[in-house]
């Protein structure tokens, strides 16, 4: 009986795996259909987008359940796209635990945000365009998730980048939105160039871009052994170098430290976009990419040790986590705080991948997707209720006006802070901290991450105090959002709490699911040495952060013009944090200044050097033209004139024959006949 069920599951799994491509393709087709619609077909557009994504969600759910029933199932498909010489470029898709869990997360969160958008964008005149872009994004993101080929992944990756650009600049009439869109596009492009170099290098070494190809894929042992034996200089193996290049691409997309500047600016887009793309899914694509090619990152690690690539990932992730959390402390735009928080949490995920492996990083990715989407949608609800106000200093007291938003937002906030036991963020963050504690290279990342957790609790408390406690400081009166917006909030809030249950030390279902094992429940999971102490420490850190935040901001409701509580006590610390630690300014005086200088050089070259050459060529041609003109005027024209004169004269002569007098003609006729007769007579003489 058990065997039969297993066989049936395997067969269905194979079928689903073969047709998995429908999951991204259906929303993409919907996007195309919406693009062709008229602007006023709002309802049809929304229905089509939500319907297609519902299909993707159900299909993903079936796939997920099948994978869950067959631990370690991996169905990979590929077919040849084109052949050049002896090398073929293959595309394909894959169904394994990692892609299944991402599929469900992306399509489910996406679906909730689609529904929420119907309410949030209800008054926007470009409603249909919005859903067209959203559907395209959903399709491309699902495409990234199921790709079995780095090339297909890269293509979907770029479409995702494109839709991100389009949606950040959705209100392109605002100059700041247009600038933010450009910034996001250009910044992520920097990472993508490295990513592409990595792909090309990988292809040149292994001859394939498929991840899994029945033993012949690029991240399967044969190819990895080959990559490890190649040297790339600087003491790196080709495997490490390629891994670092791919990580650079992931860092661009996921806002890791040097390339994080675009993400806070991306908040210029509509709030559902911030929630879906710039918090829950797209920015997580970088983390997913690293998880996807984890065998490449990991290859060559000594027992209990780590590799160059993973070390770099850990350090970058930990630095990002603290850096962004620090900046978030001193921001006053509700969405900007969340954006820096997102950057910080992405740092946690990267560090989790670096120190603990796929399961640790991915678990935080999944829980974060839910509670950060919840927080962003809550922020959207607040902004909506406060008449498009985004400055937290002009809010306050919303606890009474927007009770549903308040409750769900608080749940999201506690999950983000990692409030013990009941919230998913606690379990996923603890897994990262635990792995960091046992990291073999250094302990510093662990302390950085703990400090980051403290900051997270602090800035979230500050934000909630500003927005929901105290008294109302804005204009007009705030109102609760419609049901279509609050229902997704409630659903997300449920998952923000419940998701922690699948990753507790007692029942590490998520880790075992990704590793292809069947999870078993046992309380002994908590008995691991040091774990209890760690959980206690992290709980204390969270409480300390909450308490500090409450001390400084609780129920005080400062006036909009009044300086911040932290600004009063530590102005030397406040100013650099408020100015985002001058990273943008740093780019301004380095990269941007260099480009400006280079543009000036290019301008000078254009004007003086190339312009001179062009002028010279033009002058030569002008001279040649003058010569031609001389020839024309004197010779060719003369000839033509003479011909025309002759023709006109001849015409005149002929015209004079046409006297218009009939009798003249008759006379000529008569003379001609007589002459003809004479000739005939004369010639017929014998």
């Amino acid at each position: 009986m058990q065997d039969q069920a297993q066989v049936a599951a395997a067969v269905t799994g194979a079928i689903i795996g073969e047709t998995l491509v429908l999951v991204p393709v259906v929303p993409m087709i919907a996007s195309g259909a919406i693009a062709l619609m008229k602007r006023d077909r709002r309802k049809t557009a929304a229905r089509l987008a939500i319907g297609s994504l519902s299909f993707s969600f159900l299909y993903s759910l079936i796939a997920f359940v099948l994978v869950a029933m067959r631990p370690g199932l991996r169905v990979s498909t590929y077919s040849t796209w084109f052949v050049v010489g002896h090398t073929s470029v293959d595309l394909g898709w894959i169904l394994d635990p990692l892609s299944a869990v991402m599929l469900v997360m992306v399509s489910f969160v996406g679906l909730l945000i689609f529904i929420y958008s119907v309410g949030y964008m209800a008054h926007d005149e470009n409603f249909t365009r919005f859903f067209c872009f959203l559907s395209l994004f959903a399709g491309a993101m699902l495409g990234v998730v199921i790709s079995n080929s780095l090339l297909l992944l890269f293509m979907c990756w770029e479409i995702v980048g494109l839709t991100s650009y389009l949606l950040i600049g959705f209100w392109y009439q605002k100059p700041s939105a247009a600038a933010a869109a450009k910034k996001a596009f250009v910044t992520t492009r920097v990472g993508d160039i490295f990513f592409f170099l990595g792909i090309v290098w990988l292809f040149s070494q292994t001859g394939t871009l498929l991840l899994y190809k029945g033993g012949g894929g690029a991240i399967e042992p044969t190819a990895l052994a080959l990559l490890l034996s190649q040297h790339a200089g600087l003491g790196l193996s080709a495997a490490s170098a390629i891994a670092l290049l791919i990580f650079a691409g992931a860092a661009g997309k996921s806002g890791q430290l040097p390339l994080h500047v675009w993400l806070p600016d991306a908040m210029e887009g509509p709030t559902p976009v911030s929630a879906l793309i710039h918090a829950a899914t797209m920015v997580a694509a970088g983390v997913y990419l690293v998880a996807r090619v984890y065998p490449l990152m990991q290859i060559g690690a000594p027992a209990g040790g780590t590799t160059v690539a993973l070390t770099v990932i850990t350090w970058v992730g930990a630095a990002t986590a603290v850096f962004a959390a620090l900046i978030a402390v001193a921001q006053s735009d509700i969405k900007r705080i969340l954006a820096y928080s997102t950057v910080s949490q992405l740092g946690y995920m990267m560090a989790g991948l670096g120190v603990g492996g796929v399961a640790v990083g991915m678990f935080h990715l999944i829980t974060h997707a839910f509670f950060k989407a919840l927080l962003f949608l809550g922020a959207g609800s607040v902004i909506h209720g406060c008449h498009e106000e985004q400055d937290i200093r002009r809010m306050g007291g919303l606890r009474a006006d927007m009770p549903l938003t308040f409750i769900t937002y608080t749940i999201g906030m506690l999950a983000l802070c990692g409030f013990p036991i009941f919230f998913s963020g606690f379990w996923s963050k603890d897994a990262i901290l635990e792995a960091a504690q046992h990291w073999s290279v250094a302990k510093v990342p662990f302390y950085m991450l703990v400090f980051g957790a403290l900051l997270t609790a602090f800035y979230m408390t500050r934000q909630v105090c500003y927005v929901f406690l105290g008294y109302w400081r804005g204009h007009g009166t705030a109102h609760e959002s419609p049901k279509i917006m609050t229902t997704p909030l409630a659903i997300l809030a449920f998952f923000a709490m419940a998701l922690g249950l699948i990753g507790t030390p007692a029942w590490p279902w998520f880790r075992d699911f990704l590793d292809g094992r069947t999870a078993t429940f046992s309380w002994h999971g908590f008995a691991e040495p040091g774990l209890a102490l760690l959980m206690l420490t992290s709980s204390l850190v969270v409480f300390l952060g909450l308490w500090l935040g409450w001390r400084l901001y609780g129920n005080k409701s400062p006036k909009p013009k009044e300086p911040d509580a932290l600004e009063k006590s530590a102005p030397w610390l406040w100013a650099p944090l408020r100015d985002r630690l001058y990273v943008d300014e740093l780019y301004g005086v380095t990269v941007v200044a260099f480009y400006k200088w280079w543009a000036r050089v290019a301008d000078w070259l254009d004007r003086r050097v190339w312009g001179g050459i062009v002028s010279l060529v033009a002058w030569v041609f002008a001279l040649w033209a003058r010569l031609n003109r001389l020839l024309d005027v004197n010779w060719v024209d003369g000839g033509f004139d003479k011909t025309c004169e002759e023709l006109a004269e001849g015409g005149g002569l002929l015209a004079s024959l046409q006297s218009g007098r009939v009798q003249n003609y008759l006379r000529i006729l008569a003379v001609a006949v007589v002459a003809l007769a004479l000739v005939l007579i004369w010639s017929s003489r014998p």
């Binding site: 002929l654 015209a655 004079s656 024959l657 006297s659 218009g660 007098r661 009798q663």
Partner: protein, 104 residues
């Protein structure tokens, strides 16, 4: 005694000459038309004479030819007079010297 062929030819040549002279010298378009008619009839006379004195007087070919020619001449006269009337309506004259609008 029968008249010789040359007699018919002589008369026909005279009529033709008179017609030609009229057509060439008179100014009135109608008189010119009459001259043309005379020339046509001279030709008819020749046709009949040559037929009568030819090798096959029993074949009726010459008479047929002449009748055909007369029919054509009648049609031509009708068209010609019609043209003259149309021209007269336009220019108020039938003097051919004054009708030279087709001058090149």
């Amino acid at each position: 005694m029968t008249t010789p062929l040359a007699g018919y030819l002589l008369v026909a040549a005279l009529v033709f000459a008179i017609g030609l002279g009229g057509a060439l010298t008179r100014r009135n378009a109608i008189i010119v038309l009459i001259g043309i008619e005379l020339m046509l009839n001279a030709a008819n006379l020749n046709l009949i004479a040559f037929w009568r004195y030819g090798p096959h007087p029993e074949a009726l070919t010459g008479m047929m030819f002449a009748i055909f020619s007369i029919a054509v001449a009648a049609a031509e006269a009708a068209v010609g007079l019609g043209l003259v009337i149309a021209i007269y309506r336009q220019t108020n004259t039938t003097e051919l010297d004054k009708i030279d609008r087709m001058k090149g």
